[in-house]
């Protein structure tokens, strides 16, 4: 497996060259062991499921920031749209299944919901890019990061309030996707839904990684994130790359929202918490750093689960953010710090 070795090599490179990252990862492993010993295996599994989800969301944020220089604060609304789409697609199928049982459809139905969410997410992303960022780009490039940030906040308000206006603030949820007994892994009970959510996140991230590393278009996306003028000079259409990047990021967030519908019911402001946690991850890992976002997702999830275990759930936000502040004071560019073109305004 050439691809997976290049991934491990990449991580190893970062570790040997980067002391803060090594320290944080070592501490995380220790914390993981302690958490496992005190809270049991179920807490460790919780960490992985939550971590996979934060990682998936954070990768989208990192990609959008790295390529387009947009601090994306409407990412949570992509999550929200994914949750709604999955609900609207899955629920009718589920209802008809009650009348006409069909074993095959029962297994497949959730995946139809996921796919629909991802496709709708991609389309929404493409439209947002064309309607929101393309006109701004044509207008002026000065103050881009701040303007783009404000635009995404505006989009977030419009979408959450638009949904509330159109369909009301009601919660739309499902008890579970798959009506299967919980599995027991090393003494801990896990539902099939959680396992699927975790693997879906991992597979999506891995597929995205392969796409960015191994394909011509993926290489073009990375080229734009490193040098826009250079990319134009070799014949890359920047607009195409922006649209594709934003579409992909929105699709992955929508997929996350869809696969977690059993945990987060669909309602207009459901995206808030996922958004903030994804941002913790991205700030901790270093802006625009896709590989770092994956590890960062698990580290933030670990902090979160450990906080719940040792201090109680109400501290869930406080401790991870406090740790993040401390890390940023020590390493301002994040633990996998990469210099991103946009941090200092172009």
């Amino acid at each position: 497996m050439k691809e997976s070795t290049s991934f491990t090599r990449f991580i190893m490179n970062k570790l040997t060259r980067n002391l803060p990252a090594t320290v944080v990862i070592a501490l995380s492993l220790v914390l993981m062991v302690v958490l496992g010993a005190v809270g049991g295996m179920s807490q460790v599994l919780n960490t992985f499921v939550t971590g996979g989800m934060w990682a998936l969301l954070a990768v989208g944020l990192a990609l959008v920031f790295g390529v387009m220089n947009v601090p994306h604060f409407a990412h949570g609304e992509s999550f929200m749209i994914g949750a709604y789409v999955a609900y609207w697609v899955f629920n009718p199928i589920y209802q008809t299944l009650g009348e006409h049982p069909n074993a095959f459809l029962e297994v497949v139905a959730p995946f139809i919901g996921f796919l629909a969410a991802a496709v709708v997410g991609f389309v929404v992303g493409v439209l947002l890019e064309r309607i929101i960022f393309a006109p701004l780009r044509r207008r002026t490039k000065s103050g881009w990061v701040m303007n783009a940030f404000l635009l995404t906040v505006g989009v977030s308000f419009v979408l959450t309030n638009g949904f509330t206006l159109a369909i009301g603030p009601n919660f739309r949820g499902i008890p579970r996707y798959w009506n299967i007994d919980t599995l027991t892994i090393l003494g801990a009970n896990v539902s099939a839904d959680r396992i699927v959510a975790f693997f879906l996140a991992m597979i999506t991230i891995f597929a995205l990684w392969l796409f960015l590393r191994q394909t011509r278009t993926g290489r073009a996306i990375r080229a734009v994130s490193q040098d826009e003028t250079g990319a134009e000079l070799v014949g890359i259409n920047l607009d195409f790359v922006y649209v594709l990047t934003f579409g992909l990021a929105t699709a992955t967030a929508a997929l996350a929202g869809a696969s977690l519908l059993f945990m987060f019911q669909a309602y207009p402001t459901v995206g808030g918490k996922p958004l903030y946690f994804a941002w913790y991850v991205v700030m901790l890992a270093g802006l625009g750093n896709v590989a770092g976002a994956i590890l960062g997702g698990f580290i933030v999830a670990l902090l979160q689960t450990a906080t719940q275990q040792f201090f109680g759930p109400s501290w869930e936000d406080v401790i991870p953010v406090a740790v993040m502040i401390l890390v940023l004071i020590a390493v301002p560019s994040g633990i996998f710090g990469s210099e991103v073109k946009g941090v200092q305004e172009q």
Binding site: A223, Q226, D227, T229, G230, E232, L233, G235, I236
Partner: protein, 234 residues
């Protein structure tokens, strides 16, 4: 192959080029020399599509390309090796070169060009897997020129390849440009090293204050009194 007529170009209200006219024929090696701030780089940026011209015409193979976006100009067969190099610093030499061939869809042809480029710059072959950002200044120049060749361009615009290089490396770079011309590529070279440029080019234009001050075969310009006094220091 390239024909520029009365080109005006400006950054905002600051006009840099005032009615530049020049032409480059197929297979020619043409120099564009002049002091700092004369508008040499601006001319290249206008041709490459990075700066839409204010007025005037840029024709490439008879087609008007003034104001065409850079990526389209690049796909038409014009390759611009910029002064800033614009390399992808977090990618390997090989990846940079393959990106240079972004508009070449034929995989086989990409690899053929890659081999050819490696034969011109054996140094790059040795460093194939090194990140572009970790290479020395001279190697980066080589990489930028090599990347510019990867799209099999018909016209190459090369901006100040000697800038910031040690003298013996300058000779290397100039020799590789000459080799490049021998393979049939048309080159428009912007340089401040007047002597060296006039020695390897067929024809040259002298740009002063955004206007073409002089033009002619390089061998004649070398004997010109104004050039001798202003640029060659003899």
């Amino acid at each position: 192959m390239l024909k520029i007529e009365r080109l005006d170009a400006s950054y905002g209200f600051l006009q840099i080029l005032w009615g530049i006219s020049l032409h480059v024929e197929e297979g020619e090696f043409v120099g564009l020399i002049g002091p700092n701030g004369a508008g040499k780089t601006t001319t290249l940026r206008s041709i490459a599509g990075l700066l839409p011209p204010k007025d005037g015409q840029i024709l490439f193979k008879g087609q008007s390309i003034g104001g065409t976006p850079a990526y389209k100009v690049s796909r038409m067969g014009v390759s611009y090796v910029s002064e800033a190099l614009n390399l992808f610093v977090d990618m390997s030499v090989r990846e940079n070169l393959l990106l240079g061939a972004y508009s070449v869809r034929d995989k086989k042809r990409q690899l053929e060009t890659l081999e050819f480029v490696y034969s011109l710059f054996p140094r790059l072959k040795e460093r194939e897997n090194q990140l572009a950002g970790t290479m020395s200044g001279g190697e980066r120049k080589m990489l930028a020129i090599a990347r510019g060749m990867m799209s099999n361009p018909q016209l190459m615009l090369v901006d100040e390849p000697s800038l910031g290089l040690a003298p013996h490396l300058v000779t290397d770079v100039f020799q590789s440009l000459q080799k490049l011309q021998q393979t049939g590529v048309t080159i428009l070279l912007v340089e401040q090293r007047v002597n060296a440029t006039l020695a390897i080019t067929n024809r040259a234009y002298v740009l002063e204050h955004g206007r073409v001050a002089m033009e002619g075969p390089s061998s004649e310009l070398m004997k010109n009194e104004h050039i001798k006094a202003a640029y060659l220091g003899v």
